[in-house]
């Protein structure tokens, strides 16, 4: 049988990466798998993608997907600035940034805040395991109160809710999912990739080595039990030319930037993913019950992203020819004249 090809005629191989060196069963690996599927299914040329990350087990994962894409494993917590710079240089690229909850919520919280605020067009994934994996299990700022470390030490500081922050800060696409929920994560990823602007996805991702014990609120079993999907998520890429009936009473349609549409099925009658307050309320309510709302929690599809705001020429800045970079002799003469 012929191996499956996507709409641009590629097999899955170029979407795969190196062999993972993470622990077997680590949630991060499942996320890598979904990223591979999402890009393959959407038929995006891997060479058109930039993979960016900070430091941590999670930040290693860009080496394990899209082997043909350029990748940049930068420094702890600073992937947002690197990503911003890369996109300023080449606005044609699709950027995916992978971070950890420590990388984002602790050392990198400042850069995270400003990435959201600028609405940099990047798919920003937090592989959230409530702990520091790579440095062996210390608490991260998303660890829940009462959660314990492997050695029994309890966490007594309240967690940061990165989704809540992202909504407040101006990210134009905010979602939460679970690394074990293949269907939902894949759909969210595809929607995020199609979105123009910051698409922030917090993916609960169990750390099998340091945070999967009893007492942890990020263990696979715990999350599975407390997962509360906000709705059915279906992503329909525009190239598939599919129209889905939209039942005004139960679903909200969001037109994506590239013309594709995202369909969200509400769980509650009064919940709108385009309503900031509703999103905050949903997160607040579920959180106060010790549960996680998953799905696309907030979306603002018509917000200008950073690159649009900067009014850049169409050619990527990186590839502008010298003629358009160096003003003519007359310009230097004029400036010199001003200083005489």
């Amino acid at each position: 049988m012929e191996p499956k090809k996507n709409r641009i005629g590629l097999e899955i191989t170029p979407y795969r990466g190196g062999k993972t060196t993470l622990c077997a069963g680590c949630g991060h690996n499942a996320i890598s798998e979904r990223i591979i599927d999402a890009f393959f299914e959407m038929g995006i040329q891997p060479r058109d993608v930039l993979k960016l990350s900070g430091i941590g087990c999670s930040s290693k994962t860009p080496a394990y997907f899209l082997g043909e894409a350029h990748g940049f494993n930068s420094v702890h917590g600073r992937m947002p600035s690197v990503g911003t710079g890369a996109l300023l240089a080449n606005r044609k690229m699709i950027a995916i940034g992978i971070s950890g909850d420590g990388d984002t919520g602790a050392i990198g919280i400042g850069q995270f805040v400003h990435l959201m605020r600028r609405n940099v067009p990047i798919v920003y994934i937090i592989e959230d395991n409530g702990c520091y994996g790579l440095t062996k299990g210390q608490f991260s700022p998303t660890a829940d109160v009462g959660s314990t470390q492997k050695n029994g030490q309890p966490n007594d500081l309240p967690p940061i809710d990165t989704c809540m922050m992202a909504v407040q800060l101006g990210a134009s696409f905010v979602a939460r999912s679970f690394s074990g929920d293949k269907r939902q994560l894949l759909a969210i990823l595809k929607a995020a990739i199609a979105h123009r602007g910051t698409a922030m996805i917090d993916v609960l991702s169990p750390c099998v080595t340091f945070n999967d014990h009893e007492g942890s609120t990020k263990s696979y079993a715990y999350v599975k039990e407390h997962d509360e999907p906000s709705g059915e998520v279906n992503f329909v890429p525009f190239f598939e030319d599919i129209t889905v009936d939209y039942d005004a009473g139960t679903t909200t349609a969001v037109t994506m930037h590239d013309g594709s549409r995202l369909y969200l099925k509400k769980v509650a009658e009064d919940y709108k993913p385009t309503d900031k307050l509703a999103a905050m309320r949903l997160m607040h309510e579920t959180h106060s019950r010790g549960e996680f709302a998953t799905g696309v929690l907030y979306i603002e599809s018509d917000k200008d992203d950073l690159l649009t705001q900067m009014n850049l020429v169409d050619t990527p800045l990186a590839f502008l020819p010298p003629e358009s970079l160096r003003p003519g002799k007359g310009v230097l003469e004029a400036v010199m004249e001003e200083h005489r």
Partner: protein, 620 residues
Amino acid sequence: MQQRVVNDFSIQVATVNGSGSQTANLVILRSIFQMGIPVSGKNMFPSNIAGLPTWYTVRANKDGFVARKKEVDFLVAMNVETAKEDVMSLEPGRAVLYDEPLKLNELRSDLSFYPVPFDKLVATVCTDAKLRRLVKNMIYDGVLSHLLDIEMTEMEKALRKQFGKKVKAADLNMGALKAGADYATQHLTKTDPFHVERMDKTTGMILIEGNSAGALGAMFAGVTVCAWYPITPSSSLPEALIGYMKKYRADPATGKATYAIIQAEDEIASIGMVLGASWAGARAMTSTSGPGVSLMSEFAGLAYYAEIPGVVFDIQRVGPSTGLPTRTAQGDILSTAMLSHGDTKQILLIPSSVEECFEMAQDAFDLAERFQQLVFVMSDLDLGMNMWMSAPFTYPDRVYDRGKVLDAAKVKELGGEWGRYRDVDGDGIPYRTLPGTGMPSYFTRGSGHNARGQYSERPDDYQNNVDRLARKFETAKSHVPAPVVEDAATEVGIIGYGTSHWAIVECRAQLEQEAGLATAYLRLRAFPFPPEVDAFISRYKRIYVVEQNRDAQMKMLLRLELPAGATNHVRSVLHYNGLPIDARSLADDILVQEGRKAAETVKAATAGRATVTTAAREGE
């Protein structure tokens, strides 16, 4: 009356920060400049927005010496707080222009005093009480124009230039200028020896600040991404860049820009953006000062080890820590040369002039891309924020060096065998690929990697890689700007760099004239040190390295880099009080270290002129 002193004096205006005297000061500077006389202007301002004392010095010098002059010849005392102290610090025979009610003439009898009733005069020319404070400054310009013979037409021209399109404001200030001149003509009798006489030494020249020159250079160098975070004294560089780029690098009709300038949230983010942008193929830069460079340290190591280009303008100020944020120094040399942890070596370019700010901006981008690492342009506050005269800049017609970027032809040449960190050409410089070009990709990481760019913790891979980086740095020695060398038949050589140059030039003339001491001179322009440096040091018996820091940072760097023993005869002349270095202190220090008696020798040679204050630093 003393002998006339023509075109050789310094004016110091002592005011209060925020009093709007800058325009008046620039008008003096510019009008003397327009009369063909070499000038320099230095602003000594406090780290404060309004209310603290500030001094502006204009130096006119027929021989073209533009370094800070230690002695003040003509004091304009506008600041009540410091007036007494300022007057007491003058050498005998100097002049003081002051606000009449201060009665400064009662303090001493060996100076020329010129009282001016500023408030009375300003009331006659400016009806708006709120504006008087600002307009008042132009009155001392008028008085000076009369006392020093600065032509009124040049004053007016300079004033109009300063105000540009603000005709109303210019007219108002013209009124004050005239009122000052008229008052001086009618009421003041000149008793001091200082005069301005027209010359032709500035024909065709420009006046510009180093930061504007650097920004201009960056624009012509084809910068496309600039990420920065405000810090004195560097902010005016990206601010000037924004001005130039808006005007010359955006489509006038659509506003579409061939550049992106972004004010980052801090210096870590700005250097992060620079690395991201350069990695993706842009010519990217940032501009900062010491505290910002400190913050950039981790990323600077990544740039070095992962081999990512980028340009950093470091407009040095006084450290450590917040130090004296508005004073000048050359205190970042050593920490920047080795910025970051592990074995790291950064390329430094060191401009001495506004012209070099312009040119080195272009060198910096070429070198950064050629060597795939950061290049730091080590300017300082004195150069960056002060006005300097210069020959107009020459249009750069060099081809941009985009470095070793892999394309299809090269892949073929390499037989399809590409490795990101392979040393194909034996110069230590590998080939990189840019995303979006369809060339083979690679994974950039700060962790251990082999020649193919793959993750590796193998001892031989690590060592091969860092040895190649050392080789690359060795290659850079012949690519960075060579030092400027002036040999002489003498045993004494001077090494200097950056803004110290101007004091050194003058100091060498003083040594020669006053003590018959000829000196050879090498002006460093970059790190790594080109071979000329070693050769120069070995040619002379005693070498003095002049620098504006306490710890002789460049001397240390020379010791570290040159063969063992090669620098045993190298001494230091250090200046580090936050003020720009001056020739007098420098010459005295060298004389003392040469075993001569500085003060006496100099006093004899300059009889009738200023007595010399003690050297900045006693001999060893």
